[in-house]
């Protein structure tokens, strides 16, 4: 019995995954190869052309999504790393307060937070209206409905998911290791580059994983903050699924996106040079 206990304890988790992850995924894989329409029904025809058609029509939006996801991830890394570093090494006794402050906005719904950008960044709103009033900005300056707004929104919405894993990794770096490096005549920059940074890479990896994937697939920021040429693949999938009831195309696009993201992440893991990075991230 004792030997079985861990398996029994893990059983609900596995059942959960099997029922709510594997089955829907399999169903989606099946639908992505069917043809038909919502009224007459769909039949399995193993039509791989669903994939080629969907890609042909929406490659622009797919590439754009990867680009926006990438840009947002780089921005998050640039903003998030110093913040995580500062909290981990300079936060002192108030670390938990800072972390709490970081998470505070996330008690508000994701969509509402994004809509509040519409209010803040309105052409004649509290920020730009004032600046325009002072003559600091041209009258037709605007941020909403631009690429910058969409990438900015993505960056804002997932920033804590970048900061937290990096913080956790840096938190574990023993300050004495840095001292040791300096005792061995490493400059502060060299100590960071050769000691702290490598030790924090698993955190960076986890952070990138947790932000790049959802940011790339997100339909909300493009819909609320974007303009006429900012449509992302998430918006297309939503339209195909809910408006056009074209379940095969929506499923094929979802799978394509998933495949591209998976390949991207494995390539990224290799490039980063941490061979056991998944293991490290899971630690």
């Amino acid at each position: 019995m004792r030997r079985l206990t861990p398996y029994l304890l893990a059983l609900p988790g596995w059942m959960w995954l099997a029922i709510f992850l594997v089955v829907p995924m399999a169903a989606m894989a099946s639908v992505s190869l069917q043809t038909g329409n919502a009224i007459d029904g769909y039949a399995m025809t193993f039509s791989v052309s669903n994939y080629t058609d969907a890609l042909g029509r929406y490659s622009t939006q797919l590439v754009r999504s990867l680009l926006y996801g990438g840009m947002a991830t780089v921005a998050m890394l640039a903003i998030g790393y110093p913040v995580a570093y500062w909290i981990a090494f300079k936060g002192g006794r108030r670390k938990s307060v800072y972390l709490f402050l970081l998470l505070l906005p996330f008690f508000v719904s994701f969509v509402l937070r994004t809509i509040s950008w519409n209010f803040l960044l309105a052409d004649n709103g509290i920020l730009f209206g004032t600046l325009k009033g002072w003559g600091l900005l041209p009258a037709d300056f605007h941020v909403l409905a631009t690429t910058f707004a969409v990438v900015g929104g993505l960056t804002y919405n997932w920033l804590p998911f970048m900061i937290l894993p990096i913080y956790v990794a840096l938190e574990r770096v023993d300050p004495r290791v840095v001292e040791a490096a300096q005792d061995l005549y490493a400059t502060r920059a060299a100590a960071f580059r050769r000691v702290v940074l490598p030790l924090s890479l698993p955190g960076v990896f986890a952070g990138v994983l947790m932000t790049f994937v959802p940011a790339t697939a997100d339909p909300v920021n493009a819909a609320i903050l974007g303009g006429t040429a900012n449509t992302m693949i998430g918006n297309i999938i939503q339209t195909e699924y809910l408006t056009n009831l074209d379940y095969p195309t929506a499923s094929a696009l979802s799978f394509t996106l998933m495949a591209v993201l998976l390949v991207g992440i494995f390539v990224y893991a290799r490039v980063l040079g941490t061979e056991n990075v998944l293991e490290a991230a899971a630690r």
Binding site: A38, I39, N124, A229, T243
Partner: protein
């Protein structure tokens, strides 16, 4: 305890990957049977009679509607409960037709009840699907005397549901142009203003394929109700040109009204009731039905298949067609009521009202947005009627404009 297996050093070991692949293949086989089609044959008349003759009053009804579509005190529903002894549950669960249909479809497809007895949906693709898929209970008009007596002729002759077989209108609205009077000094009368380079980057268009499609056709002098595939393509080109010349700021959902009111955009395709509510709030917005034409749409009440209390639902639908009840409802929602007698009732009420109330009531009774004149109606067109095949052509033409 079992010894822990060594962690893989290079991603998933091959064995593991194969096992995963096997699992998904099994799932695939499970799911490969496909999704059943449900196209329903039209019901026979005696079947309908048979169904209704078996129904009895249950004393309760569940009404699923859109937000801000019923006075806050639920006046009309309270009166209904008092007069008929039927208790009601009112749920504001419908935010968007596509979204609602997307959620309802799997439930109804599986033959399960939705849990609502009355549902409100706009005429359009999703309502058409509801009817085609047999998701609506055919109505018994012998139990709709108020509808017969009080509904305007236009609301009895609707191309999307001839003879009101499945639906009766809840209220209507007009899609026209709204503009911010602080920034737009010209009198906007024509749809061409939406294509005027003067307003570059300040024009809002709607993301909905039917809405924007109609406006593209109006701009070219095409009647959407009689349009063909070639017309749709021409309209698509026209709208693409408008986009590529940088005129359009964004393709909006409901959020357009905020953008116009704040001045992010100066003029936009708009729904009448939204603008009227903003005007009463004192915001600088105006609404016109362009001379080339505007779109009239109708939100409709229907009884979804499997509803628990169909007779109570039918009684509620009919009750809302009493002029006094319709007037109370329309005074709050300020769209176009299907009951023309409401206009006189509001005028009468204005006579005895005082101050602000009097002014508001008079404004409503005279508003072309709530009571379009015959000349207004003459310029109004419905959505392009599309069958399932045509939708698969129509939608991509306009979605390739709005979702580039």
């Amino acid at each position: 305890m079992n010894p822990r297996p060594p962690l893989p050093r290079h991603g998933l070991p091959r064995r593991e990957a194969f096992r995963l692949a096997g699992l998904s293949a099994a799932g695939l086989a499970l799911a490969a049977c496909g999704v059943q089609g449900q196209k329903a044959a039209p019901p026979k008349a005696d079947e309908v009679q048979d169904f209704w003759s078996k129904q009895t009053k249950h004393g309760k009804v569940v009404f699923a509607n859109w937000p801000e579509y019923m006075p806050e005190d639920k006046g009309p529903l309270e009166k209904f409960a008092k007069d008929t002894g039927i208790s009601y549950e009112y749920k504001e669960v419908i935010q968007e037709n596509a979204d609602f249909f997307g959620k309802a479809d799997p439930v109804l497809r599986a033959g399960q009840p939705l849990g609502y007895d009355v549902v409100v949906m706009t005429n359009g693709i999703q309502l058409q699907h509801m009817i085609e898929l047999g998701y609506c209970v055919p109505l018994d008009h012998s139990k709709l005397p108020n509808f017969a007596a009080n509904a305007g002729q236009k609301y009895k002759e609707r191309a999307y549901d001839p003879g009101n077989k499945y639906t009766v209108p809840y209220s209507s609205g007009v899609t026209g142009i709204a503009y911010n009077t602080k920034y737009v000094k010209d009198d906007i009368t024509s749809i061409q203003s939406l294509f005027d380079p003067k307003y570059k980057g300040r024009v809002g268009m709607m993301a909905d394929a039917q809405e924007i499609g109609n406006f593209g056709m109006f701009a070219l002098g095409i009647d959407p109700e009689k349009s063909t595939e070639a017309d749709w393509k021409k309209a698509g080109e026209k709208l693409k040109e408008q986009r590529d010349n940088g005129l359009v700021r964004k393709y909006y959902d409901q959020s357009y009204i905020d953008a116009v009111a704040k001045g992010d955009i100066w003029l936009s395709m708009a729904w009448s009731g939204d603008v009227f509510q903003r005007q009463l709030a004192g915001e600088p917005v105006a609404f016109v039905v362009p001379e080339e034409g505007g779109t009239i749409w109708t939100d409709n009440m229907l009884i979804p298949k499997g509803a628990a209390n169909p007779l109570d639902a039918l009684m509620l639908m009919d009750y809302l067609y009493q002029p006094a009840v319709a007037a109370e409802l329309d005074e709050f929602i300020q769209f176009v009521t299907p009951v023309p007698a409401v206009q006189d009732l509001l005028r009468e009420k204005a006579k005895t009202a005082k101050g602000e109330d009097k002014k508001a009531l008079e404004q409503m009774a005279d508003s072309p947005l709530m009571f379009p004149t015959e000349a207004d109606y003459a310029r109004l067109r419905g959505y392009t009627p599309l069958d399932n095949k045509q939708q698969q052509v129509f939608n991509p033409i306009f979605q390739s404009v709005t979702q580039a």
